[in-house]
């Protein structure tokens, strides 16, 4: 579903991803772990199409299409969703307005009909309830003054409403309390489907107890240096990245 080959990316003339290879088939959940500054968020941003993230080498195939050739919003319409490590505050735009604008923009690109206001309201109400998000919060400007955990919940709410085909979760677990972690994980798990893929970036084994990955990849210094099954997370928890960092050096 998502096939990345030899991806090399520079930001402000600094090479951050250095020939990264990764393949996530439909229906699978892959986790990426790795030390701070390894390039995990850079991978997410590059796939989403952030300006200034210059791809100097490599190809990314997304469902048979060249992902890197698409504009940012076209990638979203094609089904790619990046849950931000640090979701942005959007002053002046109520969360509800933001999400509806995004949803209808995607539908338009796909040639689908817009979702009517009543239908949208009904849908968002249901989803908000399962994620334990208060409707009042959705009337406030998106993420402005929201706590770290609330911002992450908003990311998952948008995910649930936009129903993307491929999810990249960049440390969606950070900042969540124990109950919220469960609620958010349930939300993510509800999206698991044979035609959907996920890439879960995390530092903690804890999240992977809730969202069980099929594969775990270790990203060090801009490359995937090791891949394995779910047991790899336990090993990392016990021994850290030392072994892989030294190997990469």
């Amino acid at each position: 579903m998502l096939n990345i080959q030899n991806l090399t990316v520079s930001v402000d003339d600094k090479t951050i991803l250095k020939g990264l290879n990764l393949n996530v088939p439909a229906g699978e959940v892959h986790a990426i772990m790795g030390p701070n500054g390894a390039g995990k968020s850079t991978l997410g941003y590059t796939l989403a199409g952030r300006p200034n993230y210059e791809v100097t080498q490599g190809v990314v195939d997304f469902n048979g299409e060249d992902l890197l050739d698409k504009e940012v919003h076209e990638r979203a319409a094609a089904g790619l969703y990046l849950s931000f490590q640090y979701p942005l505050e959007i002053p002046g735009v109520p969360a509800m307005t933001f999400i509806r604008t995004a949803l209808n923009a995607q539908r338009k690109v796909r040639g689908e009909e817009e979702m009517s206001a009543p239908e949208f309201l009904k849908t968002i109400r249901e989803v908000a309830k399962t994620l334990k998000i208060d409707m009042d919060m959705l009337k406030r400007p998106l993420n402005v003054g929201f706590s770290g955990g609330e911002k992450k919940r908003m990311e998952v709410l948008q995910m649930a409403l936009l129903q993307p085909k491929f999810l990249i979760l960049d440390e969606t677990d950070s900042g969540l309390d124990i109950d919220a972690l469960k609620v958010v994980s349930d939300g993510v798990n509800a999206l698991r489907a044979p035609d959907r893929g996920m890439l879960v970036i995390t530092h903690y084994q804890r999240l992977l107890d809730h969202i069980k990955p099929d594969r775990i990849h270790i990203l060090v210094d801009g490359r995937i240096v090791h891949s394995g099954g779910p047991e790899l997370a336990l090993e990392l928890e016990a021994h850290g990245y030392d072994r892989y960092v030294n190997e990469a050096a």
């Binding site: 989403a48 952030r50 300006p51 959007i90 002053p91 002046g92 735009v93 995004a102």
Partner: protein, 352 residues
Amino acid sequence: MAFDLTPLDLFDPSSYPTRRHEEWKYSDLSRALRDAPARADLTHMQAEAGDFGGFYWHCAGDGQLADLQAAVSRAVQSSDGRLYLDMSDIGGEGTIAGYQGEGRITLAAGEHLILLEDYSGALDYAASTVLHFDLAEGATLIRVVILDEPESAVSVRRSTVTTAPGSVFKQYVFATGAKFQRFETHVEHAGHGAQVEMHGAYLLKDTAHFDYTTRVNHAEVDGATQQLIKGLVKDRATAVFQGRIYVEKGADGTDARMRHQALMLNDGAHVRAKPELEIYADDVQCAHGNTIGALDESALFFCQSRGMPEEVARALLMQAFVVPVAEQIEDEALREMVLNWIADKTEGFYAL
């Protein structure tokens, strides 16, 4: 204190201020208007009361405007207390038609008026107007001004406001600029405990010029002045904000706050801001802030990554930047009208 402020005389070019005048440093009228315009023929215009107590302010003829008080009195006494001052269809086609004049709006003790001034239209004109607002004790005036003037327009709109104890004056100006567009408001806090708000939002593109100049004098105790001015400037447009708040000796308990925030959407756009506070009283709370920035590119990317095309995302963020000004309008019908107007204007704004 009575204001000694008359309309700038359009028909006498030798009287035009130049950039050598400190107050006109950023707005060069003599460059925008080299010669005196022809006098507009306003005689055929009739005063009309329509929706919203509509009134055309131009029935005196020979480039001079009529007095307003009769219309104001009718509006104040009507059930909805509103007056719609329609200035939208004066001017010439191809030739600049000039008109000028003064109007006085006096509110007696405890009276309320909601005034909507609509300066829009498509004709060519040069205009110089002064509106005087005299508020008696406890009177309330809500003033919404739409300066949606044609690109070719040259306009200098002045107003004076004199408060009395406990009176309330709230002004909301929405401007798209013109060849030359200057909006001045001079406020005299002549009554203790008067409350003044003077807000504004501007959306400027191409070579539009908009100048919002406010002068506030706190002469009495416990007066309040609040200002929030926000704007978007793109292409080669110019925004000027000159705000001065002067607190006289003895005007203790004054609360004055002035904020100006502009977004420059490209290089080549200009924002000239000159906020000033001068305080000679004790026990006052005063603050002013001025920020000029660019559209937040990270927020833009965030919006796009959720599926919004760049132009939709830009329009959304730009609109979000200026709507807080309109959201302060308490009257729901007016607020909705202005919000729709802003949505309409920002939509045509994003194209690069």
